[in-house]
Symmetry: C2
Subunit: 327 residues, 2 copies
């Protein structure tokens, strides 16, 4: 590990751009190159980073402390994760919860073969939310866990809206129910149905002449996505959608409401309120990139998750500084 951490980025979508910006906030890190599957000259290079085709990554073996993988979980990471784990210390935000064990095994084998560290599934869920669920369960073994998401844009639900006939464009916000959150905060340990926990708020641009009633009905009755929720549909113009609904806010709350002793209610709450979901995820990736480099320096290899990494490794500060300033 060099004194300044040399970092590479694979993938230059919203997350990759977020990582590029986050690295600039961390003076102990330096962005060496961004690797893209597109033709590098066709990618916006306004921020001055070196933009290379992903096929050139191999030439950087031994020249980077960490490679941050910014591809998606559906198709990019299952392929790229194991490939890059053989060549670099890596960090990613693989977030298909059900497939994490399988992904872990593959990346672990590849990273051990290459002699590198790979931190998988960082970000906030999986990531910070997972850490809080785990910590709270370990401290309060007798209790209930509640996770609320939002207010934030759900890509899956927005895509579902856009597939409805007559819909030109649309955005869906997942919103935690204030009433449900208040019940959990009160310590009453409520049993909450799907409908009681979250609302779904849809902003829809219809094709000209489309049957608005039919669109609304198709959305609110859609199984899996909307039929189990209280869903609001508001029709707006394309201009209004672009003006007011083009940012990517998100967030959420993780609670554990437990009992200790004979009857004490103890509530642990963790919350995020994010103006930009991809920028925040990027900032988490960058902190874990620092940890990956430190673990590699200790001689460790293989795949790791947030559960395996002491928080101290995320900080540029020394253990002495951390004890003095932050304990």
């Amino acid at each position: 590990m060099s004194e300044t951490l040399k970092v590479g980025i694979v993938g230059y979508g919203n997350l990759g751009r977020g990582v590029e910006m986050a690295i600039k906030q961390n003076p102990d890190m330096q962005l060496e190159a961004i690797f893209t599957r597109r033709q590098p000259e066709q990618v916006n290079q306004g921020n001055g980073a070196k933009m290379l085709h992903v096929s050139e990554a191999e030439a950087y073996i031994g020249k980077l402390d960490v490679m941050i993988l910014c591809g998606g979980s559906a198709t990019d990471l299952p392929e790229q994760g194991p490939v890059f784990a053989k060549m670099f210390n890596t960090v990613d935000s693989f977030d298909t919860h059900a497939k994490i064990p399988e992904y872990f095994e593959k990346v672990d084998a590849a990273a051990k073969q290459g002699g590198y560290i790979s931190v998988i599934s960082t970000g906030w869920d999986p990531g910070l939310f997972s850490l809080n669920r785990m910590l709270a369960e370990a401290i309060l073994p007798e209790g209930n866990e509640y996770t609320f998401w939002g207010k934030g844009v759900s890509q899956g639900h927005s895509d579902a809206i856009r597939r409805v006939p007559g819909v030109k464009n649309g955005v869906q916000y997942t919103i935690p129910s204030d009433e449900a959150v208040a019940k959990v905060r009160s310590g009453s340990n409520p049993t909450l149905t799907t409908r009681e926990k979250h609302l779904r708020d849809c902003y829809v641009v219809a094709e000209e002449g489309a049957d608005l009633k039919a669109i609304e009905q198709a959305i609110v009755s859609m199984p899996n996505y909307f039929s189990d929720y209280d869903t609001t549909v508001t029709f707006i113009s394309e201009e209004e959608l672009k003006a007011n609904h083009s940012t990517m806010p998100h967030g959420g709350l993780v609670f554990r409401s437990g009992k200790t002793g004979t009857s004490s209610t103890q509530i642990i709450e963790f919350g995020l309120k994010l103006d930009s979901n991809p920028e925040f995820t990027a900032s988490v990736l960058v902190a874990y990139a620092r940890a990956a480099a430190k673990l590699a320096k200790q001689g460790q290899t293989g795949a790791k998750t947030v559960f395996d990494i002491p928080f101290g490794l995320l900080s540029p500060k020394s253990p002495e500084q951390l004890r003095k300033e932050l304990l």
Copy 2:
């Protein structure tokens, strides 16, 4: 490490009793003995645990996986911490922030000499609050941190009230200002004075015939403790104090309000709402006792803090289970 963790407790005040109860919630642990400085036969033994004089602890060397030190930070732990670290893996809640570096060094030397692990300064502040301050700073290097304490009883402030002439008894609650908390949650990154952050709410039992106006004035104008705060004084009867103000609730909030990219506000919030401060601290100690035993099994020695310990070690679940169930 045996299959069931054998645990000892030193000190049988509120915290020690909390640890005793918390161990019962964790089927992988077994309480072997409680060590007290009092005459064991004079200590309430209603819960069935073996009660021994602290001088008998040495006979348990090699027979315990962890000793949980439940003494106070003012005089007990500075003496007991290094002594027990030479004989057992230990966990404590040393909470004198300014003296943590010095305490760490002493315990570290003792633990390394004995070949044991000592986890110091666990609990919630220091402890969970420290972890959240550190994590949030690492993720959002450009931002501000805000900690609010309460609503909860402050022993130091309650003691200060009881030293005022004419006061028979009293309890002081530290209360975060709703307005200040709302400002922080809004992302406005406010600059908050001491007076704006917390209120101090005092319940006072006066001696018969005492000058109530003089007592109130002495409290609200007391330097260091009350003069920088908006303080409320309510006179009540001894019966009312015992009936309504004898529990030990506490809690608080840790925020980081940061910026990423060009202008996105990102807020991380961690909060505790505790019916019983000592029982919750005890539950944290017990989770870190499990981690201490696992670290010892790995062959590690010396003093550790919450910053050095991966969350996964706090759980009775295996890494595979954690990845599958909680990531």
